[in-house]
């Protein structure tokens, strides 16, 4: 019995191979698959030849999980990134080694940073050439989407739904990944932009000082309530300021909380000329004028004295946590009294933390080698493809692979100490790992469900025009009128 199974399996394998090469390197469905299943089920599973082609898989309402067949002939995979990270370059090399029949061409729009002007010009070129290529059914097979207009590409049906592939691919185990992040990266009901890593966004604060000066109710607070509490805190004055940030960020947060009040996208109407918006701008400016919030630029300037031990002069810090190690460093501030607070948010937002997706990748819907592209992407996502902590010292965010993250945490727990490292002039001391902080971090990364998104055109217009108000150049009403004027044009296009 066992023997016949093996023979049947071998037959299938051979037939698959011949079918594939006959199709010019692309995976085709092999009609012989059905005979193999009738021969011996165990054998078919061992060789991994799926029973039917991919066409049947996508049409069926309940998706059957199968092993994705890869082309065996030479395959050329084009991967585009604006400026490939060291991690991506390494991953390409590793992938090519593991798959000798695949050549990966890594296209970069910029190889080194020259100056800001050429950077902006390069970005514009990258976006317009990639868009044009995609629209004409060409373009890279896999591309980095951080700078591209994701929603619009999806709206035009130019990206492949990776959620489909995740469900279909028997070799993909969703539980190995941060599902909370993946599930909330959806656009129009599908997952089109896959983050390779993410930054949890958190508000941390000096608990001792805050409790001493009256405490805060952070359970379900809005930025308005945060501002009220902040004003109360700095009256007591353990720290001179409540938060360091930029005026346009504060304004965008406040506008975001009551977005529907200002923008009616369906009705194509904006209400930025209302007194409410001018009021918000004045409120933000007041926060900065009173020193409740200090301008990030000035705050950094003050801290330049000693790079690795800056003096913190705010009750709260809003941070994107770049790595577990950095989280440990953050928690060691405020003499160990650091506490993680809820980020202020709109009341209707619901519970859960915030994250910022990093290095989102997508697959071209018109790619002729989608199987290979998905396999490559899977490799990037996986534990082997995840950021090597030795590259750039792990400052690339948290890997989307839970397995890779767990390994990194386990390593920290086992070693019990983070070794000091030298990076140019900066040097850190080795320090002890506090396991309670790592438990806390686990909670943060698994509860992050709200993406902090790409800025929209409206955000850009608001932040650009409001600068003149925050620097005292124009009145709030004049700026509000300009924003209203431009946003109306945008909404009616």
């Amino acid at each position: 019995m066992k023997r016949t199974g093996w023979i049947a399996a071998l037959c299938v394998l051979l037939l698959c191979l011949s079918a594939c090469s006959g199709n010019g390197g692309n995976a085709g469905s092999s009609p012989s698959g059905t005979s193999a299943t009738s021969g011996s089920s165990t054998g078919a599973q061992q060789t991994g030849a799926p029973a039917d082609g991919e066409g049947a898989g996508t049409e069926a309402p309940a998706v059957e999980r199968e092993e994705i067949k890869l082309p065996t002939g030479p395959v050329k995979l084009v991967v585009a990134s604006f400026e490939p990270s060291e991690q991506l370059k390494q991953a390409v090399k590793k992938y090519e080694q593991a798959h000798p029949n695949v050549t990966v061409e890594l296209q970069a729009a910029q190889t080194e940073f020259k100056d800001l002007d050429s950077q902006i010009a390069n970005i514009e070129k990258y976006v317009s050439t990639t868009n044009t290529a995609l629209l004409s059914g060409k373009g890279p097979d896999v591309m980095e989407l951080d700078l591209l207009p994701r929603e619009k590409l999806v709206g035009r049906g130019l990206l492949a739904d990776l959620g489909d592939w995740m469900n279909r691919d028997a070799a993909f185990n969703k539980a190995d990944y941060f599902v909370n992040v993946l599930d909330h990266m959806q656009i129009e009901g599908g997952l089109y932009a896959m983050p390779l890593s993410f930054y949890p966004v958190a508000l941390i604060g000096d608990k001792a000082a805050i409790d001493k000066d009256g405490g805060v109710q952070d359970g379900d607070w809005t930025w308005d309530e945060f501002a009220e509490s902040a004003q109360r805190l700095i009256q007591k004055g353990t720290h001179p300021h409540a938060l360091a940030n930029t005026p346009d960020y504060m304004l965008s947060e406040l506008v975001g909380e009551r977005y529907a009040q200002f923008v009616d996208e369906a009705g194509r109407r904006a209400s930025f000329d209302s007194p409410a918006f001018a009021g918000l701008m004045t409120q933000v400016k007041q926060l900065f004028d009173d020193g409740v919030v200090i301008d990030l630029m000035k705050a950094n300037f003050r801290n330049e004295s000693k790079a690795d031990n800056p003096k913190i002069n705010t009750y709260f810090q809003s941070t994107q946590i770049p790595s577990p190690m950095e989280f440990l460093l953050l928690m060691d501030q405020y003499d160990g009294n650091t506490h993680v607070y809820t980020k202020p948010h709109a009341k209707e937002m619901g519970p859960g933390g915030y994250f910022m997706a990093n290095q989102t990748m997508g697959i071209n819907a018109a790619s002729p080698v989608k199987e290979q592209a998905w396999d490559f992407l899977k490799f990037l996502l996986s534990e082997q493809g995840a950021a090597d902590p030795d590259i750039s010292l792990g400052h690339t965010g948290f890997p989307i692979s839970r397995v890779a993250y767990d390994k990194e945490i386990q390593k920290l727990r086992d070693e019990g100490e983070v070794p000091g490292y030298k990076n140019g002039p900066a040097e850190t001391e080795p320090f002890k790992v506090n396991e309670a902080y790592l438990d806390l971090l686990d909670g943060i990364v698994t509860a992050a469900v709200h993406p902090v998104g790409q800025s929209t055109k409206i955000d850009d217009i608001i932040s650009e025009e409001s600068k003149a108000f925050f620097t005292g150049q124009k009145s709030a009403e004049a700026v509000a009128k300009l924003i209203q004027n431009k946003v109306t044009t945008y909404l009616n296009e």
Binding site: S128, R268, L482, N492, E493
Partner: protein
């Protein structure tokens, strides 16, 4: 015909074929594997408030700036066609804006027109309030001024050439018969200048569409709504991947230009046959 072939091939390859493809895109619902949807794209285009605004702005700009430019450059040409102090220098000075690269022109205008720019500094010095030149209702006049500054020299040179081609004997005859200066101007100069004028008007209209380049570099993709031109609309449609609206807007614009140019050329033809 044979000698025309290379030129015709180039024109077909770089203009005619892409335009035909654009026309096809404007009738389908997506760029690859699209279906024919008739005029649906044009319907949604005309439903867009910003497109209508852009069309009105473009018409308004051309309608104001071209006549103004023609009158000014003709006046200058008449002035400079007779012996005048420093005539050659003045001619050169008027043509100079044409040869300065756009980037430098834009940089100077930016310094000049900015909220904290030179013009506002002078206004402030004179005791007036500041004006946001490109972000208020002053934007359109500012743009007209920029356009005239840039094109007046070119048009003037064309008019000067036209003036030289009018035979002096006509003027002599008119003078002998007792025609005054004004009569000479309206009955000889303007009449015999008509072919030149038609050509200058056409060139000026085309150049008036080119003002987008400066506007875009000065005010970005979403300028004050008064100077939001058709090209802004098309550019933004390209970046939001809405090729359908982009191509139908382009097709409409080309249609209008063809009608305009056609009627101008027809008028000139009628005029010529009337002359003979």
């Amino acid at each position: 015909m044979l000698f025309l072939a290379p030129g015709a091939a180039g024109f077909a390859l770089f203009y005619l074929v892409p335009f035909a493809m654009g026309l096809w895109y404007s009738l389908t619902d997506r760029t690859i594997g699209g279906h024919f949807v008739g005029l649906a794209n044009y319907e949604s285009l005309l439903a867009s408030g910003s497109f209508r605004k852009a069309a009105v702005n473009t018409l308004l700009f051309t309608g104001i700036s071209v006549p103004l430019l023609i009158v000014l450059s003709l006046g200058l040409a008449l002035l400079l066609s007779r012996p005048l102090f420093l005539r050659r220098w003045l001619q050169t000075a008027f043509v100079l804006p044409l040869v300065v690269p756009v980037a430098s022109v834009v940089a100077i205008w930016q310094i000049f027109l900015d909220w904290n720019g030179s013009l506002n500094a002078w206004l402030h010095g004179l005791g007036y309030g500041r004006i946001d030149w490109l972000q208020s209702d002053w934007a359109m006049p500012t743009l007209v001024a920029m356009y005239i500054w840039k094109n007046v020299g070119y048009d003037m040179i064309l008019f000067l050439a036209g003036l030289l081609s009018i035979p002096q004997s006509y003027y002599e005859t008119a003078r002998i018969e007792g025609a005054g200066r004004l009569r000479q101007l309206t009955h000889i100069t303007l009449v015999y200048l008509t072919p030149t004028t038609v050509f200058v008007i056409l060139i000026s209209i085309i150049n008036s569409f080119k003002v987008f380049r400066e506007t875009y570099l000065l005010a970005g993709d979403y300028p004050y709504d008064r100077i939001y031109m058709l090209q802004h609309y098309m550019n933004n449609m390209f970046f939001s991947l809405d090729i359908q609206k982009l191509t139908s807007a382009a097709a409409l614009m080309v249609g209008c230009i063809v009608i305009l140019a056609g009627s101008l050329l027809a008028a000139e033809k009628r005029f010529r046959s009337w002359m003979e």
